[in-house]
């Protein structure tokens, strides 16, 4: 207290007693309660409530971040999976068609077209338009077929 008496005269005047108290028989009973808590810990494993609370909060934050990352990843994959074909260059498409076109015979191709016929619809107007176009432009129908 000599240390503080020069710089704190008010403090030196205050009784240095303990202003706090405890319930009756607190210290008589405390050892038993502690040993009981240790016994419970042995049965159930170590329990650290404050640390557990802190970890639980951090785990929740970590889990949320992971969940958002997973949702974001699958969302990205979903958006981009339909466009995977459009990722091919026109050169690659041409190569593909050239490679496989030699394997496709004309009869097979026509059969395929027959099998995958469009549902019946009234194309009469459309066919008139096409024919009119072909005639006006003097396009030979046979040359179109040959090109196909």
């Amino acid at each position: 207290m000599d240390e503080s008496s020069n710089i704190s005269p008010r403090l030196t005047k205050i009784k240095r007693g303990n202003p706090y108290s405890v319930p009756e028989n607190y210290f008589e009973e405390l050892p038993g309660r502690i040993l009981e808590a240790i016994h419970v810990q042995k049965e159930t494993g170590p329990v650290k409530p404050f640390i557990f609370r802190a970890i639980r909060l951090q785990l929740a934050v970590a889990a949320s971040i992971i969940a958002f990352a997973v949702i974001g990843y699958f969302g990205y994959k979903l958006i981009h999976s339909d466009n995977s074909a459009s990722g091919l260059t026109s050169g690659e498409i041409a190569e593909y068609v050239e490679y496989y076109s030699s394997e496709i015979e004309e009869d097979m191709f026509i059969e395929m077209l027959e099998e995958n016929k469009l549902p019946e619809a009234d194309y009469s107007d459309l066919s008139d338009e096409i024919i009119t176009y072909l005639v006006d432009e003097n396009i030979d129908y046979q040359s179109i077929v040959e090109q196909l």
Binding site: M1, E3, S4, I7, S8, P9, R10, L11, I14, K15, R16, G17, N18, P19, Y20, S21, V22, P23, F27, L30, P31, R33, I34, L35, A37, I38, Q41, P46, K48, P49, F50, I51, R53, A54, L57
Partner: protein, 182 residues
């Protein structure tokens, strides 16, 4: 019951047959000093009760590995201090925006504590101590109330003696100013 010194108690603790008996003695030997140290940090009796129980549970779990590099009491005191500070940390985590500070909570606790028997002057002193930064409050309590030597405080708080002396000096000056404000 014959008084056991710390070496004997540790030896008894390391024997599984006498472990509980040894630990019971350790608790009875140190509980009051540790409790009051914790109580001055967390203020409320109920909180101090929680902290002191956690302290001794931690001691039980770690005592077998205690290497006796320091005195047993120094080791116990350090654990109790850390447990009390961890307890206060949870209040800080609750308030992201510190509208209500830990010091406000402790002051309210002090004013409503049914186990505070001091007069108005002692209440003012306790409030002045609560206004100190956490580390400084620790240093003040340990020096002023526990009359601990700086060398021992240095081992517990892992701080140099010089820094502790400076800290205590500043703490006393701040308290004097606070008491003057009345």
């Amino acid at each position: 019951m014959a008084k056991n010194n710390d070496k004997e108690l540790l030896s008894l603790f390391r024997d599984e047959n006498t472990r509980h008996h040894a630990f019971n003695i350790i608790i009875r030997k140190y509980q009051e000093r540790l409790y009051w140290h914790v109580r001055r940090i967390v203020i409320s009796h109920d909180d101090a009760d929680d902290v002191i129980q956690n302290t001794f549970i931690r001691v039980w779990n770690g005592l077998e590995e205690f290497r006796e590099a320091s005195k047993l009491y120094t080791w116990l005191y350090r654990i109790a201090t850390n447990e009390a500070l961890s307890f206060l940390k949870q209040y800080r985590k609750k308030f992201i925006i510190p509208i209500v500070t830990v010091e406000n909570i402790l002051e309210n606790s002090l004013e409503s504590d049914s186990f505070f028997n001091g007069d108005e002057i002692q209440m003012n002193l306790q409030k002045a101590i609560l206004s100190l930064p956490e580390k400084q409050r620790l240093v003040f309590n340990m020096k002023y109330f526990d009359e601990m030597k700086y060398e021992e405080m240095a081992k517990i708080l892992n701080t140099s003696v010089g820094a502790l002396k400076a800290s205590y000096h500043h703490a006393v000056k701040k308290i004097e100013k606070k008491l003057g404000e009345g």
